[in-house]
């Protein structure tokens, strides 16, 4: 009986240990990557923004807004998830952006149920 416990316990512990070594670390989720990327020099308005997070996101509680340097909010289309990747939020831009610097503000709820938010700048210079 004791022997069985020890074996079961060892099997469990080693499975979990092996499992955990092939894992990425997690904190709360965060923004991992954007398209256009943060360093890209844009000459024309992008047609959409793609924001990829470190965890899947809840589309029902995701918001992205774009504001220009005068703090005026630019209308964006309806957000959707990339059908192939539930970590990527797609933001259609329906009115072409003129040259200038914009701030992209995002707030999403990630798979763990926690709300995270942030912002980044994007410059268009023809």
């Amino acid at each position: 009986m004791t022997n069985l416990w020890v074996k079961g316990y060892a099997a469990l512990a080693s499975t979990l240990f092996v499992g955990s070594t092939i894992l990425p670390a997690y904190a709360h989720a965060d923004l991992a990557e954007t398209v256009p990327s943060l360093t890209e020099a844009l000459t024309t308005s992008p047609e959409e923004l793609r924001l990829t997070f470190t965890e899947s996101v809840e589309i029902a509680f995701s918001e992205v807004s774009i504001v220009d340097s005068e703090k005026t909010e630019i209308q964006v289309g309806e957000l959707s998830l990339d059908p192939e990747d539930n970590k990527t939020l797609v933001v259609p831009i329906e009115v072409a952006l003129v040259a200038g610097t914009y701030t992209v503000e995002w707030a999403v709820v990630s798979a763990d149920g926690h709300k995270i938010e942030g912002s980044y700048d994007m410059t268009i210079a023809p």
Binding site: W5, Y9, L12, A13, T15, L16, F17, G19, S20, T21, I22, L23, P24, A25, Y26, A27, H28, A29, E55, S56, E58, I59, A60, F61, V109, S110, A111, D112, G113, H114, K115
Partner: protein, 292 residues
Amino acid sequence: MDAWLYFFRFFHYAAALQLFGTAVFQAWMAPPNLRRAMSAFEERVALCSAVVLLVSGVGWLLTVAGSMGSGWADTINPDVVFRVLRATQFGQVWTWHLAIAVMILPATALVSRVRMGWTLLAILSALALGGLGLIGHASALDGFVGVLNRASHILHALSSGFWLGSLLSLIYVLGLLRSSDFGRDADMALHRFSGLGHGAVAIALATGISNSWFVLRHAELNPTTPYQAMLLLKILLVCSMLVLALVNRYVFVPRIPNGPGIRQLRDGTIAEIVVSAAILTLVSVLGVLSPS
């Protein structure tokens, strides 16, 4: 808002652990005569826990709606609350979880009037307690490792539930140990609990270690961050739980036949309950904080 989330989480975890431990004790630890003798007390404990489970479960949902939405107004905004239930991972788990919490109420009220009532309650409360391993950071990962991580959290909840949730029943049993009617049964229940308790403690420790490892594997170890400081404190408290449990089992239990064992074991068990309440407080906060 976070403070309310801590508050509801604490009572929800506590109620789920207590309910599961009580039902398992009655269903499988206590021989039939003892079960009947303890029934009135255990039913009251179970009913209180069931009510707290449901109320705190709803409170938890409303607070989450506020935090996912835009603040206090959204905690009572039906649109937002239903959007949480229908359209998020948390909400899908919570719909089932609350349905189970609702079913637990009549199951608790009828527990000694139906055959196998305590077994049914043990199963329902296992589902409620296990469901808590499917939300929060346990659910952050997809795929096979995600399944493994969830399984580890579920096992952790159930094994700790068996351990911590039985302590109150244990104290009651100690009072019956010298009784001429129930002494033998009480002794038998004590030994069953201590036998299975070793397994439960081992599983709780193994899964606790693996859960912490899952969270912190790549994080920079820095015990001045709130999360890691609290996790460290939790580990210290768990170590003291372990010492208490070992002293109870291997020092106080052998003194029961003729010595002061019963009183010492009662004090030791009360100490375990106090420490476990402190651990639960930490758990309620840890699940909300960012690990790094």
